[in-house]
């Protein structure tokens, strides 16, 4: 036992001394910080004042011999926070989630082969993150919105003065009257599905905008309208839209609150329930308008098997092929947003519809210009400064 205590008391300090000696020996190794230049910290900008950007570069002709470690220090607290290790003499680091009331500085130290810090360090000034009031990188987007809003206002004013604007034929929307009439003739209901999404989806709002005139027409024809919903908010709005439309048509008594109802918020549960309604109630017309996902084909095929006339419309590009194959008419993408103006022919709405077309024209012109300049640039060898500048400008517009 005594021997063990002796060994513990004598040999352990020896081992500790040997370890300590080695550490001291390595730490005395000096790192030449002149091989690192431009070590600086800057405010990120266009943010809420919670981030700083640290960057350092290697001096010309220098290679990394040591691992560099980046620390963050604050003015009030001596404790350092390790941020990153860099194998090269150049590096950058985005330091996020900072407090703008605190000043920070960044420190670079070199590590030896054992991972111990060497003598010497490089540090930045103390900097506080600054809060910004405008996202400068979004300026072009804001200008575009103003231009777009400007075009809308100009066209609305033009229409108000009596100018008639041409709008191309949209078969799916033209057939709505016929579809409702058919349901009246054979005495079966019309099924209106306002999509599977919530009210935050613009496609749902566009669908509810179509529901208004459709419900009015149905009320005039004295036909039954069934509107099953997946979202409670959509259901509430749909109830209001249908009720108001029935009142406007002079048939408030024909409105049945139980015909606009909530089904389930489960995606495939909703699809199964809609398929069930199609099979049991056998509606003469199915209107599937709004946002749909994978359930679109289940509904459209179930409707197809019942022999109903089907008009579908969505802005979900992936679901469009399903609707095109299974429905009689498909309202594609932007036509869904044009429906409200198209059906009502209100001058104000027609103006916005035309503005949409003009802006699309502008985008097409830009794409074509880009394509032409790209071809010319490639023929010219790709090093014509003016062409590269134009291409860069168009790219910047689209990236913004």
């Amino acid at each position: 036992m005594k021997t063990k205590i002796f060994l513990f008391l004598f040999i352990l300090p020896l081992l500790a001394f040997a370890q300590d000696n080695q550490t001291t020996a390595d730490s005395t190794h000096l790192f030449d910080f002149s091989s690192v230049k431009d070590f600086k910290v800057t405010d990120v900008g266009s943010d809420d004042g919670t981030a700083l950007f640290v960057k350092w570069n290697a001096a010309e002709g220098r290679d990394a011999a040591n691992l560099l470690r980046l620390y963050r220090e604050t003015m009030d607290d001596s404790a350092r926070v390790i941020l990153a290790d860099s194998q090269t003499l150049s590096g950058e680091f985005l330091d996020e989630n900072l407090d703008r009331a605190i000043s920070y500085r960044y420190v670079l130290v070199a590590l030896d082969s054992l991972g111990n810090e060497t003598v010497g360090r490089m540090e930045t000034e103390y900097v506080s993150p600054k809060v910004n009031f405008f996202k400068k990188d979004k300026l072009l987007l804001l200008i575009m919105i103003f231009i777009y809003a400007g075009i809308i206002i100009v066209l609305v004013e033009t229409v108000k003065k009596g100018k008639v604007l041409f709008v191309r034929k949209i078969s799916g929307l033209d057939t709505l009257d016929e579809a409702v009439g058919r349901a009246t003739e054979i005495g079966r209901p019309v099924l209106y599905v306002p999509g599977s999404s919530t009210m935050s989806d613009i496609a749902t709002i566009a669908s509810l905008n179509i529901l208004g005139p459709v419900a009015k027409k149905i009320a005039e024809y004295d036909t039954r309208l069934i509107v099953p919903n997946r979202d409670p908010i959509v259901m509430t709005v749909a109830k209001e839209v249908v009720k108001e439309s029935y009142s406007e048509a002079g048939r408030p008594d024909a409105y049945n609150d139980n015909d606009v109802f909530f089904l389930t918020d489960s995606q495939f549960g909703y699809a199964a329930a809609i398929s069930g309604i199609m099979t049991r109630e056998k509606p003469a017309t199915n209107l599937l308008l709004g946002m749909f996902w994978a359930e679109s084909l289940i509904m459209a095929e179930a409707g197809n098997t019942t022999g109903a006339i089907q008009i579908a419309g969505t802005d979900a590009v992936t679901q469009l092929p399903f609707f095109i194959t299974s429905c009689d008419y498909t309202i594609i993408g932007e036509e869904l947003y044009a429906a409200s103006a198209y059906l009502s022919r209100e001058p104000l709405l027609m103006g916005t519809l035309k503005a949409q077309d003009y802006f699309k024209g502008l985008i097409i012109v830009l794409i074509v210009l880009y394509f032409i300049f790209l071809i010319i640039s490639s023929i010219a060898g790709g090093d014509v400064a003016i062409l590269n500048k134009i291409l860069e400008m168009i790219r910047f517009i689209f990236n913004s």
Binding site: D47, V131, F134, I205, T236, E248, T325, S340
Partner: protein, 225 residues
């Protein structure tokens, strides 16, 4: 009239404009405003589910009262609704509640709660069943559309045949270049068409949003104008 039309339009306009401003302003106040609106949305959505329950109960109670065809299914819906709510409230959401563990000692803190059990072993399989129907519906829809009655339909048929062959090992066995051809079809003609639609859709979304914010579009409030 003011509460039914003007007030909702003012609210829509106010929140529309402030949300646009919020998007361009990175200040913490703008961020907290956005988070506040999101919180309100969650609260409002939670309350609207009460209306959903009211709608379901009213609809099915009416069906049972009037003994319409298939009223028995409405009874099943109401029983299921009540039962699910009961086991959710008293049995715990993800793990068994203390009340349930006291009542039935067989339930341990590590057990699956009865509500979770109904979700995992009833709802999920039922959803998967409906989802699996897609395969058959796709086949029937494809059969209908791929009949080469016109030039467009023939093109659709040929493209679909190439894409299908390029996606299965047999296609590569017949001709090694099939997967590359499929990649090209998806990457260029297909993507070009998709982007064309998407540009229109995005402009439509902006136009509809502006119409709502400016109060030009009012049909979503009900009525024609």
């Amino acid at each position: 009239m003011f509460t039914r039309r003007t007030l909702p339009l003012l609210i829509a306009g106010f929140f529309g404009i402030t949300t646009i401003i919020q998007f361009f302003v990175p200040h913490p106040v703008s961020k907290s405003y956005y988070n506040l609106v999101l919180d309100w949305m969650i609260i409002v959505t939670a309350f609207t589910y009460l209306m959903a329950v009211q709608s379901t109960v009213e609809l099915h109670t009416t069906k049972i009262k009037r003994k319409v065809e298939g009223w028995q299914y409405s009874l099943i819906v109401l029983i299921s609704l009540g039962l699910t709510a009961f086991i959710g409230v008293f049995g715990g959401a993800f793990v068994p509640s203390t009340f349930l563990m006291k009542l039935i000692p067989a339930f341990k803190p590590t057990s699956t709660s009865p509500l979770m059990y109904t979700y995992l072993y009833m709802q999920v399989p039922m959803q998967s069943t409906i989802f699996s129907l897609l395969a058959f519906y796709m086949a029937s829809a494809a059969f209908r559309s791929f009949r080469a009655r016109s030039f467009d339909a023939t093109m659709l048929l040929v493209t679909a045949a190439i894409v299908t062959l390029g996606r299965v090992p047999l296609g590569e066995f017949i001709y090694k270049g099939f997967p590359e051809v499929v990649e090209w079809i998806l990457k260029y003609p297909n993507m070009a068409a998709q982007r064309g639609i998407l540009i229109g859709v995005q402009l439509g979304i902006i136009a509809t949003s502006l119409k709502i914010i400016l109060g030009i579009e009012r049909k979503y409030l009900g009525g024609g104008k």
